[in-house]
């Protein structure tokens, strides 16, 4: 298993993939975090779906990670794309047969791939957290937001909790991408399906019937990153989101282990 992780990390560290992914993560992190502070007085709101995040909220101990928690959803979509592409490309390039000849334990391949991509995702999340908190700290005085409580023990606890929540959410999005990659066996199909579902289909469904946000997978995983959402508790999101991920992962793993590698 350790060998699989080492081999996969070798692929993940190639400059175009590594810097491309980190660049995308930094772009969204910078954009969304800046938006919260620069648009603080905007009547259109400065948060997700027109929500307003006021000075009193940003001035709390958890204020430093407001931007970071908001960007969790985008980091999740980036993870979904990377996990889906890294998994499905083994089929399109025909490299899966090389992997299985060198490591016939299919579950070891799958788990090793997951661990390596999780490490990659955690690196991305850590960089995003640092950049988001740094941007928040730089922009807070201009937006008249107090940072007095940010680096107290309660503040550090909020940073840690948010980091864990975002990590759970992003890895779960990644696993969804991996499942799609295994099921569809094509990076383009897996990414298109995943992104279209999360960004368009779920939002349309929720716009038509608001209560669906309690049951749709993307909404649950986004809520986990934010530590819960309006009308959607963290515990509920964790349970329902976890169920989606677990069922998907089990189905995809069984298929991967049993399916003939005929391409």
């Amino acid at each position: 298993m350790f060998n699989v992780v080492k081999a996969e990390l070798r692929k993940l560290r190639r400059p175009t993939l590594f810097f491309g992914t980190m660049g995308a993560a930094l772009f969204f992190t910078g954009l969304i975090t800046s938006f919260i502070y620069l648009m603080i007085d905007s009547p259109q709101g400065n948060g997700d779906r027109g929500r307003s995040i006021g000075r009193e909220v940003l001035g709390l101990a958890s204020g430093s990670v407001n931007g970071f928690a908001s960007v969790g959803n985008f980091l999740g979509i980036i993870a979904l794309c990377v996990f889906a592409a890294q998994t499905a490309q083994e089929y399109t390039y025909g490299t899966l047969r090389n992997l299985l000849i060198r490591q016939p334990g299919r579950m070891k391949i799958l788990i090793g791939k997951l661990i390596s991509m999780m490490l990659f995702a955690i690196a991305m999340i850590a960089i995003a957290a640092i950049v988001s908190i740094a941007i928040s700290y730089i922009l807070a005085p201009g937006a008249e937001v107090s940072t007095d409580l940010w680096f107290t023990s309660a503040g550090f606890e909020a940073i840690f909790t948010t980091f864990i929540n975002v990590t759970i959410s992003v890895v779960a999005f990644g696993i969804v991408g991996m499942v799609l990659g295994l099921l569809l066996r094509s990076p383009i199909s897996a990414i298109s399906f995943g992104v279209l579902w999360l960004l368009i289909v779920e939002n349309l469904l929720i716009a038509v019937k608001n209560s669906l946000q309690n049951w749709l997978p993307g909404a649950q995983l986004s809520a986990i990153a934010s530590g819960g959402a309006v009308d959607l508790t963290y515990k509920h999101a964790l349970t329902v989101g976890g169920l989606y991920v677990a069922v998907g992962a089990i189905v995809a793993s069984v298929l991967f282990v049993r399916r003939d590698v005929a391409n």
Partner: protein, 301 residues
């Protein structure tokens, strides 16, 4: 220690209603070069995939280096393989691609550069795989197959895309490996190549074994041919009649008559043709080569 590198018994693979491989039986002795031949779609790659644990057989058993194919983890560390062409990550260099596989298999990393040198890619190892020519990709595939210092090497069409010099190098490499004790199981459409390097032949047609055994045994089964050419093309029909009158099957191919007969009948044909007023321009006994044998046995062409 078994004395066979590969042994399969009643091995079949069925896809929906199509039987890709049908109850095949064969053995490949250790330390030999075994040519695996058959027309496109005859089941060669499917058989190789079953032997490598990539697909599950519908029926039958197989053993690789004494281990059952149901447990590829027991033998794949001693097997090198390249099937259905070289498959690598296009954005990684040849060197990085081999490093991925070396790390995955837990092989010594210094072997990567050694193998790149061995297959003639030493100076192109840092180039991305997507920039390689077909021949270079093929060489990288062979290098990848050699990573585990295999006891058994399974190669599917390893000379595809290689120039004549490259083909000769691969031939020499395979022979050297066999001399060092590696069993080589190789499929190729270049039957003349296989004839030169193979000790054993396994011949497939429509998923069934046509022949499996030593190549010498196969060639000995084949009837020799006498090829006769006349100065006048119009005499060819008359030569066919002479041969058939003596009970030998004869056909006209291009500008000559091919008579299925033992070598010692050639002087008899020569005399009969002379008596019939035919002047032969050429009279040559010829043993069929592997390609002709293959076409005859598989009914192709």
């Amino acid at each position: 220690m078994p004395n066979t590198a590969i042994s399969v018994s009643d091995l079949s693979k069925k896809y929906d209603d199509r039987l890709a491989v049908s109850h095949i039986n064969f053995e490949v002795p250790l330390g030999t070069v075994c040519g695996f031949v058959g027309p496109n779609g005859s089941g060669k790659t499917t058989t190789m995939r079953m032997l490598l644990g990539l697909i599950t057989p519908t029926t039958g058993q197989g053993h690789i280096l004494g281990e059952p194919i149901e447990h590829p983890e027991k033998y794949l560390s001693r097997v090198g393989a390249m099937i259905e062409g070289p498959a690598f990550y296009p954005a990684l260099s040849g060197y990085e691609n081999l490093m991925v596989l070396a790390k995955l298999g837990g092989f010594p990393l210094e072997r990567v550069q050694q193998l790149l040198d061995k297959v003639g890619l030493g100076d192109r190892g840092k180039s991305k795989f997507k920039t390689y020519s077909l021949g270079m990709k093929q060489r990288l595939g062979i290098a990848a197959a050699l990573l585990p210092e295999p006891k058994l090497l399974m190669l599917d069409e390893p000379t595809n895309g290689l120039d004549p010099e490259g083909i000769q190098e691969v031939r020499a490499l395979l022979r050297d490996l066999a001399n060092e004790g590696t069993t080589v199981f190789v499929s190729s459409h270049l039957l003349s190549e296989l004839e030169i390097i193979s000790d054993y032949i396994v011949m497939l047609r429509k998923g069934e074994i046509v022949f499996a055994g030593p190549i010498g045994e196969l060639m000995a089964q084949q009837q020799p041919t006498i090829i006769a050419k006349s100065l006048n093309h119009s005499d060819l029909k008359r030569i066919v009649e002479i041969a058939e009158l003596a009970g030998h099957h004869a056909v006209i191919r291009n500008d000559s008559v091919h008579v299925l007969a033992e070598m010692d009948w050639a002087p008899v044909l020569n005399k009969a043709a002379f008596d019939a007023g035919i002047t032969l321009a050429q009279l040559a006994p010829q043993l069929p080569n592997l390609e002709e044998t293959f076409f005859e046995m598989t009914g192709e062409k």
